[in-house]
């Protein structure tokens, strides 16, 4: 899946246009060459203004590469508007959006069960959202790898305005975890605070499997 969700940030004054940044996260390796002046200095400088955003994009890619192994797994940025974009992108198919954190022991205990659900799923989509900040992402990756979930569809909170991110999934959610949104094909959302063994989740899965 190539398109990232809106990389909204907690500092619009720095970031500017989220759409531009969106693309930037997925610049490919060979774009690095773009960091080097191609022609003479004068020509190059005249291009700087026009290509400023692109250069920044390339630098982003460069930064990602410099990050190396820590970000080998693709945690797509989950920012403002992400929940709506996710449900839109999966419209017409049942979707589970599962939020979890490495600072949440119950989340970690049940990750293997989520791995099993993800491996055996039929007829519905599942997306995992890690709510930790970037400092904990390597730890999150290790946890996912351990339970065999590294190949799943992963997002990571990329915005400190967490109240907004919570609100968009459920206006009553204060951030308790694990938290799961069960999204119907028509976009209707039922949310569950607590474990994978919650009757709402069990029933939802049962219905999907029965079909």
């Amino acid at each position: 899946m190539g398109a990232a969700l809106s990389l909204a940030t907690r500092a619009p004054r720095v970031i500017g246009n989220p759409e531009t940044i969106d693309g930037a996260s997925f610049i490919t390796l060979d774009s690095r060459s773009g960091l080097r002046p191609a022609g003479n200095d004068k020509n190059y400088k005249s291009l700087v203004g026009l290509r400023r955003m692109r250069l920044m994009s390339l630098a982003l890619a460069f930064a990602l590469l410099a990050g190396g192994g820590a970000f080998a797994m693709d945690f797509k940025p989950y920012g403002r508007g992400a929940f709506g974009q996710l449900t839109k992108a999966h419209a017409g198919r049942p979707l589970i959006v599962h939020f979890w954190s490495v600072t949440c022991p119950p989340c970690l205990v049940e990750l293997p069960q989520w791995a099993k659900i993800a491996a055996e799923k039929k007829g519905f989509d599942i997306v995992f959202v890690n709510t930790d900040s970037d400092e904990d992402r390597a730890r999150a990756q290790a946890r996912l790898e351990k339970v065999g979930l590294s190949g799943a569809d992963h997002y990571g909170f990329a915005d400190d305005f967490v109240e907004k991110l919570y609100f968009e999934a459920d206006s009553a959610w204060r951030g308790e975890l694990p938290f799961t949104a069960l999204v119907a094909p028509d976009g209707g959302v039922v949310t569950v605070t607590g474990g994978v063994d919650d009757p709402l989740i069990v029933d939802w899965l049962h219905k999907r499997v029965a079909k």
């Binding site: 970031i15 390339l58 982003l60 730890r139 990329a158 206006s171 308790e176």
Partner: protein, 429 residues
């Protein structure tokens, strides 16, 4: 603060600048420099520093205040892998250059939501900072303390409260004689049980005390087991000079309701009682701890969040008999605005409670005050708001006045005096 996006922008900015100079090899972003420069650039790229990576409180995610004897306001905060304290002589409007207390090599400093570096000011002018680090590989913490006896110019090398096990969510209370009590959530019993293949819910509740201004802590012991391990503890000083702590407990049936315990003077005994039977049976991490305050009359006041079978939202209860019994929980805050993260403070015959609300766009700090020890509360008044990311609200009392301490992304750090009388507290918003 600390998000990948911002960090990448920091790299992008420096990368673009490098390109303009025809020097593609990216320098480490200058604004991400740590005071000791002990973190190599390679490690930094694994844990990118935020674009706002200056050593100032406005770049932090959490800020905890303390008033020193000389009237200066100190805040403890972390930026990236460094912990700082900074002082303000104008109640938070401006801060002096911060003092770096520690820079960690690997792992993270716990500074998010309920977990936060703290600072307390002792009567003799000593400052005691505390913070928790978590290593890269394991999900356990170590609590460190560092002291300053020169007015915050320098701090001692940080000392681990305990070298093994796992500790988080410290809460420190100082009595009038200068004895420092520390409470924290301790994973030692849980780790032991895990090693033995046994089930163990939550963390232990541990305590210790110090009579030498925080140089050493004595009597470290886990007195109660099965606290909810991802919610903060809160502490307050009782009338008799012993501390009382409140936390979320994991009770039978995975019920995560609140407990309080008064500690004996030697920190060796604690009697825990339940604040409220909310019946929140949930195998989850609320990340949402309680707050306790004790007024001059010795009445205990507790606020908390629950999503229990019996009640949901923010609640308040008080105990007039040192925790033996609590009043019927009283609801406050607007559920339709996701009311959360309540906290309390007592200041000169007044009691204040504040909490966060969010309507999808604006985060507000709502406040109520009580002049009759919590029997009745003023109308709710919004005392601050913001349109972007924000820290939990903190309350602090100093010289009989109460203040809201709040760090927000757009406005930066703010210390706001709360109204002293019912009339202004109930004034229209």
């Amino acid at each position: 603060m600390k998000r990948l996006a911002l960090a990448l922008m920091a790299f992008a900015a420096s990368g673009a600048a490098s390109a303009e100079q025809g020097a593609p090899s990216a320098d480490a972003p200058k604004d991400a420099a740590t005071p000791t420069q002990s973190t190599p650039p390679a490690a930094m790229s694994h844990h990118p520093a935020a674009a706002c990576a200056d050593a100032k409180v406005d770049c932090a995610a959490t800020a905890v205040p303390a008033f020193a004897k000389d009237g200066r306001l100190w805040v403890a905060f972390s930026v990236g892998k460094s912990l700082y304290a900074a002082a303000s002589s104008d109640n938070g409007a401006t801060f002096s250059a911060p003092t770096a207390i520690a820079t960690i090599g690997d792992g993270v400093i716990d500074a998010h939501g309920d977990a936060r570096p703290k600072i307390i000011a002792l009567k003799d002018g000593t400052l005691l900072a505390s913070y928790t680090t978590r290593p890269d590989k394991q999900m356990i913490g170590t609590i460190f303390t560092a002291r300053s006896t020169d007015g915050g110019k320098t701090f001692t090398a940080p000392q681990a409260l305990l070298a093994e096990g796992g500790q988080r969510f410290d809460s420190i209370v100082v009595n009038r004689k200068g004895r420092i009590y520390a409470g924290w959530l301790d994973k030692t019993h849980a780790l032991k049980a895990k090693a033995e293949g046994k089930e163990f819910l939550g963390s232990g509740v541990a305590f210790a005390y110090s009579d030498d201004g925080g140089k050493t802590f004595k009597g470290k012991s886990i007195l109660i087991d099965h606290a909810c391990e991802c919610c903060r503890m809160s502490g307050a000083l009782d009338k008799d000079g012993t501390p009382v702590f409140a936390w979320r407990q994991v009770l039978d049936g995975n019920v995560r309701d609140h407990m309080v315990a008064k500690l004996s003077a030697d920190a060796a005994q604690a009697t825990a009682t339940r604040v409220s039977d909310d019946d929140w049976a949930i195998n989850s991490c609320p990340h949402h701890g309680p707050s306790i305050a004790i007024d001059a009359a010795g009445d205990w006041h507790v606020v908390w969040f629950t999503k229990g079978k019996k009640r949901q939202g923010l609640y308040y209860a008080r105990s007039l008999d040192e925790g033996k019994s609590f009043s019927e929980p009283e609801k406050f805050g607007d559920d339709a605005r996701a009311a959360g993260h309540p906290t309390l403070v007592a200041a000169k015959g007044r009691l204040y409670r504040v909490w966060k609300e969010f309507d999808g766009t604006t985060t507000t700090i709502a406040m109520q005050m009580s002049r009759d020890n919590g029997k009745s509360w003023s109308a709710t008044r919004v005392v601050a708001q913001t349109l972007d990311a924000s820290d939990h609200p903190e309350l602090i009392a100093h010289n009989g006045a109460a203040y809201l301490s709040w760090l927000t992304h757009k406005e930066g750090y703010r210390l706001m005096p709360l109204p002293r009388d019912e009339k202004s507290a109930a004034a229209p918003q």
